[in-house]
C-alpha cells in the first residue's frame, strides 16, 4: 500500500502544482475514497504534505522578490488563529460533517479554477491600514520594478481567517480563499498574491499540524509516502509547467474534482466516511 500511496501522492502533487489548486485538495479525497483511510489520518497526512510543498516553493519565490513578507506576516495572524480554531472544530464535529464541508470547498475551488483570474487595477489611494502597516511594495516585471498599493485590508484579513479555519479543519492550503482575499479584496498583482499566499500556507498548516500531532492524527507510516510523493510531484509539476497545456489539463482536472466532490458528499451524507 505504501508504494501505491506514494505514486498517487506524486500524481496529486503534480496536478496540484500544474493547476494551482495545491496537492491537499486531491490527497484527502484520494486517501479516503480510493484507499479507505479514515479522514482524520488523511487530513493529518495532507497537512504535512501542504507544509512541504508550500515551504519548498516559497524558498524559490521569496528570493525572486515577488513575496511581500509584511503582508504575509500580518495576514498570518488571521490564518493561524483560524487554523487553531479549525483544528479544534475538527475534534468536535463528526467525520461525516467534515467530509460534506470538504466536498463543498472542493466544488467551490473547481468552480474558481475554471474562471480566469482578472488582473485588478492596483491604482487609487491605498487603505489607511495598508499605509499604517507599510504594506505597499514593489515587484519585478520585465519593465523594471513596479510599485503597487494595497486595498481593503480588513476584508482581506477576515477572509484570511476563514481560509485558516478551512485549512485547519480540512488539512488543505485553502489557496482558493486566499486568492479571493488577495486578488479580489486587496487587489494585489497576481505574482504578489500567488507567491505571498503560498508563503503563508506553510505557517497556517504548521499551526494546526501541532494540534493534529498531539491528537494522534499524524501517522508516520501513512504520512511519509504522502509527504515525499507530493513534494516530488510538486517539484516535477513546477518544472514541466512551462511546456504543459494548462487550459486543457485544467478542464480535465476540474471534471475529476467535481466527481470527487460529489462522491465525498454522497459518502459523507450516507455516513460512509
Amino acid at each position: 500500500m505504501t508504494g501505491l500511496v506514494a505514486i498517487g501522492s506524486f500524481a496529486a502533487g503534480m496536478l496540484g502544482a500544474l493547476t494551482g489548486l495545491g496537492g491537499g485538495m486531491i490527497i484527502v479525497p484520494m486517501l479516503t475514497l480510493v484507499f479507505g483511510v479514515d479522514i482524520r489520518y488523511a487530513i493529518g497526512a495532507s497537512l504535512i504534505s501542504v507544509i512541504a510543498t508550500s515551504s519548498g516553493a516559497a524558498a524559490a519565490y521569496v528570493r525572486e522578490g515577488y513575496t511581500n513578507i509584511r503582508i504575509g506576516m500580518f495576514l498570518e495572524v488571521a490564518t493561524t488563529f483560524g487554523a487553531l480554531a479549525g483544528a479544534y472544530i475538527a475534534g468536535l464535529i463528526s467525520t461525516s460533517a467534515i467530509a460534506v464541508i470538504f466536498s463543498l470547498v472542493l466544488a467551490y475551488s473547481a468552480f474558481r479554477s475554471l474562471r480566469p483570474r482578472e488582473e485588478h487595477s492596483t491604482d487609487g489611494p491605498p487603505d489607511k491600514w495598508a499605509t499604517r502597516l507599510r504594506m505597499d511594495g514593489t515587484y519585478p516585471t520585465p519593465e523594471g520594478m513596479q510599485s503597487y498599493t494595497v486595498h481593503n485590508v480588513p476584508t482581506g484579513f477576515s477572509l484570511m481567517f476563514v481560509a485558516g479555519i478551512l485549512s485547519g479543519l480540512l488539512g488543505i492550503g485553502s489557496g482558493a480563499v486566499k486568492v479571493l482575499a488577495m486578488d479580489q479584496a486587496m487587489r494585489l498583482p497576481f505574482k504578489v498574491s500567488t507567491t505571498t499566499s503560498n508563503f503563508m500556507i506553510g505557517v497556517t498548516a504548521a499551526a494546526s499540524a501541532g494540534i493534529y500531532l498531539h491528537r494522534g492524527y499524524i501517522d508516520p507510516v501513512l504520512a511519509f509516502p504522502v509527504m515525499l510523493g507530493v513534494l516530488a510531484g510538486a517539484l516535477t509539476g513546477a518544472r514541466v509547467l512551462a511546456g504543459a497545456k494548462v487550459p486543457a489539463l485544467r478542464a480535465v482536472f476540474t471534471v475529476v474534482i467535481v466527481f470527487l466532490a460529489i462522491e465525498m458528499a454522497y459518502k459523507g451524507l450516507r455516513g460512509g466516511i
Partner: protein, 132 residues
Amino acid sequence: MSDPLWRTGRWSDEHVELFVGNLLRWGVILAAAVTAIGGATFLFLHGAAIADYRVFHGQPDALTSVSEVARNAYTLRPEAIIQLGLLLLIATPIARVALSLLAFAKQHDRTYIVVTTIVLGLLLYSLIGVGV
C-alpha cells in the same frame, strides 16, 4: 528607522528574503531526508506489512509530542525517525517566523515585532502547548 545603517546593512529586506529562502529550502531538504531514511528503514524491516487506516485509533503517546518524539528518535525505531522528520518539517515555517521576528527587531519595526510575536506564540502554543 531613520538610521541608514539598517537600510544598507545586513538586515535590509532583500537580505531577509535571502535568509528566509535559504532557511525554508534547507529545512525542507533536511526534513525530507530524515523522513526518507526513516521510511526506507521501515519498509526494509516491515516490507509490505499492510496497516489498517480504516479504523481510527490515534497514535501511541510516544509519537504525539515533541519531547517524546525526540527521545524516541534515539532508539532508532523507524516510526520515530519518520516522526522526527515530520517534526522538523513542522518546525521549518516556525523557524522562518522566528527569523522574521529577529529581522524586524533588528529593523526596530515595532508594529511587526508585535505582529510576528503573536504568530510565533500561536505556533508554539500549538506545537508544544497544553495537551489538546
